[in-house]
Amino acid sequence: MHSSVDPIEKLTAAFEKLPSIGTRTAQRLTFYLMKADKQEALSLAEAITELKEKTRYCSICFNLTEADPCDICSDSSRERSIICVIEEPKDVLALEKTGQYRGLYHVLGGVLSPLDGIGPDNLKIRELQERVKNGIEEVILATSATAEGETTSAYLARLLHPYSVNISRIARGLPVGGDLEIASKETLIRALEERRRVE
């Protein structure tokens, strides 16, 4: 009897390891897959296998990719003198969706966060320095507007200052669709500081 439920327990335990998934959710997912069409379950297993076997980090920008270098780094039509520095690979997707940016990326792999024990040695900062030395004209610092994101940007700006590159920081302030009355004091200060002339 025990061996017959072993795969269920095994899969439930595997789901439980995923972020934001507790025992009950893990059990629900397991029983959903039990009842689901065999092909659906197999394609999920196949997708997970492919993810681990075919996906790697680009050796230039550290974005997730199937081929190394990634599609963006090997695309000759992109502006090769601009690097946008971001925290995580998912930020590439967010910026690419805008269709407004045609330069290259550099994924740091996180932000400087002393509370989490993440210092400069834990991020791809040395690799960024190496890239900036080779023909880069502008670096856009696009880390989040959180405390850690701000500190990371300030740290990078100081670090890259000796190189002859233009360093810019993405604008911070009111989010599009955001109400002025519920914005915090700091958000409004940023919004006022970074206001621009209306043409």
């Binding site: 972020p19 400087l112 002393p114 024990g117 210092g119 040695d121 500190t151 989010p175 915090s184």
Partner: protein, 258 residues
């Protein structure tokens, strides 16, 4: 269920779900709180940046029923300590204060000493040069030892109340203070420390925060103070090695040395 209102400093914030965070706060009136902030991760969240770590905010919350989490209803920031977030080393020191508070404040303790110690030290750090941060951290550590019930006895012998006269002074980690000549045999693992180190620790323990920056400490005494405080920490709490901010500070000073 009544809504409670207080001022608090955010010690840590964890992602709880796609849209919500769990925050640990050091509050003025209710001690350490762990609360869920529903919707805090949404772009137009009503919490905005009020729940970022190292932010002093006024909060409104529903207290937990039993064993659960408090639920935050509203937060508005009072001080974001922006200057501490402009430099990695400053952020690491400020984070160390938050970590120390989180580990050394017992759950359910409602006193406001930890809140005022943290608030005053963060405010003082904002106005101080980076060179003073180390001393402010030690001053804070000594205050927090008192909050947690580990206040080291530095004036009289911790065993008999006598006056230690030997040079160097014996310091007992286990007893939690200095030992006189008669009592020093009671602790075989006692440490020998320079009398000036004990004098400086005593000063740091009793001095007002405004004057901490004026204390002059030689590099050799700095090393001894750091070593004795670390050893004291390690002896009395397992948490010291978990302090990640201090690991980052060590990384920064190692990189600066290379």
């Amino acid at each position: 269920m009544p809504i409670l209102k207080t001022e608090a400093i955010v010690l840590r914030s964890y992602k709880w779900s796609e849209t919500s965070n769990i925050v640990t706060l050091c509050s003025r009136d209710f001690g350490k709180l762990r609360a869920v902030a529903k919707g805090a991760r949404r772009p137009n969240s009503r919490f905005d940046n009020c729940l970022n770590p190292i932010t002093q905010s006024q909060i409104l919350f529903y207290p937990r029923k039993s064993g659960g989490l408090d639920v935050l209803k509203e937060a508005s920031s009072i001080n974001y300590f922006p200057d501490l977030k402009q430099e990695l080393e400053k952020l690491a020191y400020a984070s160390a204060l938050c970590e120390l508070t989180e580990y050394l404040t017992p759950d359910g303790q409602t006193g406001s000493s930890a809140y005022y110690a943290l608030h005053q030290t963060l405010n003082k750090m904002e106005d101080s040069p980076l060179e003073d941060f180390k001393k402010l951290l030690w001053h804070f550590e000594l205050r927090m030892f008192a909050v947690a019930g580990y206040r080291p006895q530095l004036c009289e012998c911790v065993c008999c109340g006598g006056s230690p006269k030997s040079l160097p002074v014996s310091f007992s980690l286990a007893q939690g203070g200095v030992l006189c000549e008669k009592c020093e045999q009671k602790d075989a693992a006692r440490r020998q420390v320079h009398p000036d180190t004990v004098k400086l620790l005593r000063m740091l323990q009793s001095i007002e925060i405004e004057k901490v920056g004026k204390i002059q400490i030689s590099p050799s005494l700095e090393r001894e103070i750091k070593a004795i405080l670390e050893a004291f920490w390690r002896y009395h709490t397992e948490e010291y090695r978990k302090l990640k901010s201090l690991q980052v500070l060590r990384q920064i000073s190692r990189n600066a040395g290379t």
